[in-house]
Symmetry: C2
Subunit: 101 residues, 2 copies
């Protein structure tokens, strides 16, 4: 299945809940990003590890930067040149996993 | 133990082997960086996971960015405002772990 860029109606429907949850669209690129903060490195790493397994299973991987307890995530679908349902799926999964932490 | 910034003689002795191994000093900041590339995300993540355990044990953590099979690492010691023996130790550990991958 080739992921296709989100249509305008899909953006309204699918991105809105993510923006409410603290995700932001990025300047000059069709992507979303969010910074997650945890109590310490162990908690941040635990989150990343759980995300990593889901990402590999989805065959859709984040761009992410970690330093100590902070994880900055950017999601976009390289093959499609922008946001697709894969990004929405991974972002929602991250929200659920961060809430568990 | 408070880590102290490397002296000039230490820099010559300790940084030189890392520069030969592909580490670079950074502009405008007393830090070293290297980009590691692996066969795929699973290999990159395996490397990061092993580094993460060592980093936590050293209580010295990298700044790192990952996208798919690439890991960009920057090392510096925040408390000391620059490079210390902790950075050298972590960089050498990363070299050993990347060579195993």
């Amino acid at each position: 299945m080739m992921a296709e860029k989100l249509t305008e109606p899909q953006r309204k429907e699918l991105l809105e809940p993510l923006l409410v949850a603290g995700w932001q669209t990025t300047e000059g690129r069709d992507a979303i990003r969010k910074t997650f903060s945890f109590a310490n490195f162990v908690e941040a790493w635990g989150f990343m590890t759980r995300v990593a397994l889901h990402a590999e299973k989805l065959n859709h991987h984040p761009e992410w930067f970690n330093v100590y307890r902070t994880v900055e995530v950017t999601l976009s679908t390289h093959d499609a040149g922008g946001l697709t349902e894969l990004d929405v799926k991974l972002a929602k999964r991250m929200e659920a996993l961060a809430a568990d932490a």
